[in-house]
């Protein structure tokens, strides 16, 4: 592993070569070259930094700023936050999203791991790669396209799996997407779209386990299940956690799925089902940008906290 560790910063530089880290000792002490390179580094990162400021930092600061103003532009403390938290729609929406996340994350963690293990265990190369491809292809249909496709699949009159829907007792589209079913429905759609991506990532992680280790386990009489439990799963733990965190952050922002369903059912699926729909309603139906910004900031802080925790404590980005 030749990657620099994250903490391999200039401050860790050895005495005598002020600008280069420990690599400097192996390389040559061409200080002028290094200084010039360091100056050029700024040129190289400048474009990205500009975009990061304009579309990452600045909008965030602006949203935080107006979340503390009233609609006249005066400072209003935490009024906006108390207002949205007291909104009768806020906690139901948070509960919907929470329930959806629970179903989806459990499905992802169990099924993706299982499918990756199965695909990895298949001996025939062509079969394994075809399977990965089939699992991966729905990933092309993200966003509105996949939801529209699922409108058909969930509609018993045209669905390719109408027998399954009938077996569950759903005779009409509106019955299929009745409020009690929604967390599961959204979880199924999200799983269908995104699972393949993660199966491939897990498959890659499984490939990094040396053959000798698996061979040794087999020699010792471990079957496929015990090998999976005692050798492969511990190796996957980091990636499962990574998947869970990424999905948690993304799932909390649920918007297009409930919106399209709401449109297609003529608001049988409510327009304020998820938190992000609520930010949308605040901004565009109630003309309350400040309240909308307050919800956006709450969501942003939540996902920032999760990702910070992960970057600082999770260790996925430490490279040995």
């Amino acid at each position: 592993m030749t990657a620099p560790a994250l903490d391999d910063s200039p401050s860790a530089a050895a005495a005598g070569s002020p600008r280069e880290g420990r690599r400097q000792r192996a390389a040559t002490p061409h200080r002028s070259v290094t200084v010039k390179w360091s100056r050029f580094s700024y040129v190289f990162v400048s474009g990205y930094v500009l975009f990061a400021l304009a579309f990452g930092v600045l909008p965030t600061l602006y949203a935080v700023f107006i979340a503390f103003l009233d609609n006249e532009g005066r400072f209003s403390g935490i009024t906006n936050f108390t207002k949205v938290l007291a909104d009768f729609r806020f906690w139901p929406a948070a509960a919907h999203v929470g329930l959806f996340l629970l179903v989806w994350l459990v499905a992802l963690m169990v099924l993706v791991t299982l499918l990756a293990l199965v695909v990895h265990g298949i001996g025939r190369r062509w079969l394994s790669s075809s399977l990965r491809f089939v699992y991966y292809i729905p990933g092309a249909l993200a966003g509105a396209s996949s939801v529209v496709l699922w409108l058909f699949v969930l509609n018993p009159t045209v669905s390719p799996v109408s027998a399954v829907l009938h077996a569950f007792g759903f005779e009409t589209f509106v019955q299929t997407v009745s409020p009690g079913n929604l967390p599961v429905v959204f979880a199924v759609i999200a799983f269908w779209t995104g699972a393949g991506n993660w199966i491939i990532v897990m498959y890659g992680a499984l490939n990094s386990i040396p053959d000798e280790v698996l061979e040794a386990a087999r020699m010792d009489g471990a079957g496929a299940v015990r090998t999976a439990l005692h050798i492969q799963l511990p190796m996957l733990r980091k990636w499962i956690a990574y998947m869970a965190v990424m999905s948690l952050a993304a799932g909390a922002q649920l918007f297009v799925e409930p919106r399209v369903l709401s449109q297609a059912t003529h608001a049988v699926v409510p327009t304020d089902w998820s938190l992000n729909q609520l930010t949308y309603l605040y901004a565009f139906k109630q003309q309350d940008l400040n309240g909308s910004a307050a919800i956006a900031v709450l969501l942003l802080v939540a996902s920032l906290a999760v990702s910070l925790f992960f970057v600082v404590r999770g260790g996925l980005f430490e490279r040995d």
Binding site: M1, T34, I137, A252
Partner: protein
């Protein structure tokens, strides 16, 4: 190893347990193949059916080419072929942002991986943190920013925010720091290469796989993005993903009250759905071999 795995094992231990295990694996595999493939296969078939046949015939009974072209024409007639406008918008936004993304992220990842400059660690940590924030979390703030500078409805209101792609910087950073030795670059410098020449002549050719990977992810993410363009480029400037939901609003089967001027039948909506994913699907098909390898390389720590 996997080549020997299953082929030798069953012969050695044909216990009932092993047989049951294999049967379970087969059942799971078949079930999920059906789960992932059936909706797509059905979509392909549905585009060739008449509205009546879609409901009355079996879901996998094939339609006809005549009905396919009838559905296609119904889609083209909708608001005088606005579907092409939507597709064009999608293409403009996705490709425009893709170009800017490559121009900004590849050098940035390169400098972060192989350079040493003040602020490097801060920038790297920020990138990791922002990368984990879902892009929808920033949509409303970006909308507010865009409307503050009067860019709403302008193509730039989609292209510029799409171009901020920290995941691309992260991929490039990982690639350069694992696959390109510093000594190689230093050797070129000692031979008198300027920094730009080192980047253009040595680093870039080595980085072609990661450039393709970043390009792929950027294009797919841009094409499929809904929330941001839904707010920042509404109406005629909308990309196909947003247009699709507008089309949905004209489908009587889903919106009984909206049976307005032009009703869109279900098979026509199916054609539009297929059309909306075709570019990404094509990119997928063409890049699948290299893509699966690339993702796999990203997944390993070797």
């Amino acid at each position: 190893m996997s080549a020997t795995d299953l082929r030798t094992r069953p012969r050695r231990e044909q216990t009932p347990g092993a047989w049951l295990g294999r049967a379970t694996v087969v059942v799971i595999t078949v079930f999920f193949v059906l789960f992932f493939a059936v909706p797509i296969v059905w979509l392909l078939i549905a585009t060739g059916k008449s509205p009546h046949a879609l409901i009355t015939t079996g879901p996998f009974a094939l339609g006809s080419l005549g009905d396919l072209s009838a559905n296609w024409e119904a889609l083209v007639r909708f608001q005088d072929g606005i579907v092409f406008q939507w597709l064009g918008n999608s293409l403009l936004y996705s490709v425009g942002a893709l170009v800017i993304t490559l121009i900004t992220t590849i050098p940035a990842g390169y400098a972060l991986a192989l350079g040493n400059f003040r602020g490097r660690k801060v920038l790297l940590t920020t990138t990791l943190v922002v990368m984990l924030i879902p892009n929808t979390a920033l949509v409303l703030p970006i909308f507010l920013e865009m409307s503050a500078i009067n860019l709403i409805g302008n193509p730039l209101a989609a292209i510029l925010p799409f171009s901020f792609f920290p995941f691309g910087v992260y991929l490039t950073y990982i690639y350069f720091s694992t696959s390109v030795p510093r000594d190689l670059l230093n050797a070129a410098r000692i031979d008198g290469c300027g920094e730009l020449a080192v980047f253009a002549r040595i680093a870039m050719p080595l980085a072609l796989p990661v450039i393709a990977l970043v390009g792929f992810f950027s294009f797919v993410a841009n094409w499929n993005n809904f929330f941001l363009p839904f707010l920042t480029v509404p109406g005629r400037a909308a990309p196909i993903q947003v247009g699709l939901t507008e089309l949905l609003g004209s489908v009587p089967a889903f919106n009984p009250t909206s049976a307005g001027v032009t009703a869109i039948e279900l098979p026509t909506l199916a054609v539009a759905t297929l059309l909306s994913v075709t570019p990404v699907l094509l990119v997928f098909l063409f890049s699948q071999r290299f893509l699966v390898a690339g993702l796999t390389a990203g997944g390993t720590k070797e």
